[in-house]
């Protein structure tokens, strides 16, 4: 097989569209992982919950908008479950997330009634679909039906809403909860309630992302959220590594998470283009995230002391 650059280029719009959709999930991960300082594994289940709810609602004749809103609300419920397990029963956040995720597997199956359900673009009016990429290109549909445009609008609106929310009194108190929980309590902030709100908001976004993904690929599948947390973390970290020096404003930080997600998908697309066995994609993602997570630690331990020693010498 030859490596034809044109093939890669033709895959690009699809990769960007997928990156944008996963970017919404990654912003959800950002809320828990960076703002609340909790590693929440609920996402692997709630992504699928969003997809399942959306597909079943559409199959049952509801409008796509109602379906998306219900997916968001269902996602919030999954976050509530994890939040209660953590705050009321004192289970560590990671374990609480794993428990919810495990339980959600059954719930998702019950929602879908079988391991996968498809919705074709021919029979249902969807907001985004893989096929629209070609349709717009061929002029069969107007530009505003292009998945990149539609999901792009979603991303902009979500960033605007989050920017507003985390600037409010409640939003500030949620940030304080993650930044310094002792200080937050001393200032009269109900840290348990705030953690629950953060987890609900986060998983609502994850489920919303799942609902868009199900539409985009025309089906929901019981395994579709597996490994989502790793993709989310990868997006957060790639975004930070590449843009943290220039993006300081909160809205721009969220944007960098979405860009991180897009870059992740372009890299994945490139890896596939290189004819690497698709089976190894997950291993590859895990390695990338492991390296990114380990970097700051290794840097602090080995590189910074060397720099300091050098600086110390030159000062002497």
């Amino acid at each position: 097989m030859s490596l034809n650059p044109m093939n890669l280029l033709s895959q690009l719009p699809g990769a960007v569209a997928q990156g944008l959709i996963w970017g919404i999930m990654a912003m959800g991960v950002y809320i828990t992982y960076r703002i609340l300082d909790l590693a929440d594994l609920t996402v692997d289940g709630s992504f699928c919950t969003g997809a399942a709810v959306c597909v079943m609602m559409i199959l049952n004749g509801h409008s796509v908008w109602v379906a998306i809103i219900c997916a968001f609300l269902a996602g919030m419920l999954t976050g509530l479950a994890t939040g209660l397990l953590h705050t009321v029963f004192g289970i560590s956040p990671i374990l609480a997330g794993i428990l919810t995720q495990l339980g959600l597997w059954s719930v998702n199956l019950a929602i879908m009634t079988r391991p996968n359900q498809s919705i074709s673009t021919n029979n249902y009016k969807l907001l985004v679909a893989l096929r629209f990429l070609d349709d717009v290109k061929k002029g069969l549909k107007p530009f505003y039906n292009h998945p990149i445009f539609v999901v792009g609008i979603f991303v902009i609106v979500i960033i605007a809403v989050l920017y507003w929310f985390f600037g409010t009194e409640l939003g500030c108190s949620i940030r304080a909860t993650g930044a310094n929980i002792n200080m937050a309590r001393a200032q009269g902030i109900n840290t348990n309630v705030n953690k629950i709100i953060g987890l609900m908001l986060s998983n609502g976004m994850v489920a919303l992302s799942g609902s868009l993904m199900a539409q985009y690929q025309n089906f929901a599948d019981i395994n579709m959220g597996r490994g989502a947390i790793v993709i989310g973390l990868a997006a957060v970290i790639i975004g930070e590594v590449l843009f943290s020096k220039i993006f300081r404003n909160f809205a721009l930080k969220l944007l960098s998470v979405v860009l991180g997600s897009i870059i992740y998908y372009i890299v994945m697309q490139t890896v596939l283009w290189l004819n690497i066995d698709a089976n190894y994609l997950k291993l590859f993602s895990a390695l990338v995230v492991a390296v990114c997570l380990g970097m700051p630690y290794l840097k602090a331990k080995y590189i910074t002391p060397i720099q300091q020693r050098k600086r110390g010498k030159s000062n002497a």
Partner: protein, 264 residues
């Protein structure tokens, strides 16, 4: 203003690490009184303050603040009465948030936090004025992340945050211990100023006997979870380190005072 009635606290009960940290301790503090607290390592000073703040519930006894029984009130609910500064400068502020954001959080202590904007323009002016009273130049750095400040600056800011919404009770737990002597003296001076200007009822733990003698209207010394010495009024004004040690020896029936209290 503050009443502690026979409060007890045992850590790790039923294990080899069982520790009776507060032993039926009683204390009544009047409105506006400035009390300094000393005692050896492990005497139960921090435990007493944390019990008042609600970090944990006491096993026994009652805690009453300004006539309200708060014994079973959760920490964040009690916070409306209490301003706190911790020993660790990292603990009292959110490093990743700006100076004004930290102040805005403190300015809403005890209030419902809804969907109104987190900081208003009017507040900023107020924060500037308040920061100026610290004399550290922080009034021109409102948006600076607190993580970039020195330990002394952070403690001064925490002190301001604790007193911004005049608390019924100000709790200071060795809040100058982690600072270098010069900075510690400055923060202590700011403390004296803020306490007196706002007429705050204050409990200040210190490891330094001279500071305990030179500041406040009343001095208490803890020993094994109980109050061993309690001096106020004229007697407190005339107090010397030697006299204090002597009182401790008599009260506790031991002469380990010198090593245990570590004269700093």
């Amino acid at each position: 203003m503050l009443e502690l009635i026979n409060i007890s606290k045992t850590f790790n009960p039923g294990t080899v690490n069982e520790k009776l940290a507060l032993d039926r301790l009683s204390l009544t503090i009047k409105d506006g009184e400035f009390v300094t607290v000393i005692g050896g390592n492990g005497a139960g000073k921090s435990t007493m303050l944390n019990a008042v703040a609600g970090v944990f519930f006491v096993d026994d006894g009652r805690i009453i603040i300004d006539g309200n029984d708060v014994t079973r009130l959760e920490e964040h609910r009690r916070a409306k009465y209490i301003g706190r500064v911790f020993q660790d400068p990292m603990m009292g502020t959110a490093a990743s948030m700006g100076i004004e954001e930290n102040l805005a959080l403190a300015n809403r202590r005890g209030q419902f936090r809804g969907l109104k904007w987190g900081i208003t323009h009017k507040e900023r002016q107020f924060y500037k004025e308040q920061l100026a009273t610290l004399g550290l130049g922080l009034e021109n750095r409102l948006t600076t992340k607190v993580g970039l400040l020195s330990g002394g600056q952070r403690q001064a800011l925490t002190l301001l945050m604790a007193s911004l919404k005049k608390p019924k009770l100000l709790l200071l737990d060795e809040h100058t211990a982690a600072l270098d002597p010069k900075t510690a003296a400055k923060v202590l001076e700011a403390t004296e100023e803020i306490v007196r200007r706002n007429n705050l009822t204050t409990l200040m733990i210190t490891h330094n006997m001279r500071d305990a003698i030179n500041h406040g209207d009343r001095l208490i010394m803890l020993y094994e979870g109980r109050i061993a010495v309690d001096v106020s009024g004229e007697e407190k004004k005339k107090l010397t380190v030697e006299k204090l040690l002597e009182m401790f020896t008599t009260a506790s029936g031991s002469d380990e005072a010198d090593d245990k209290l570590l004269l700093s």
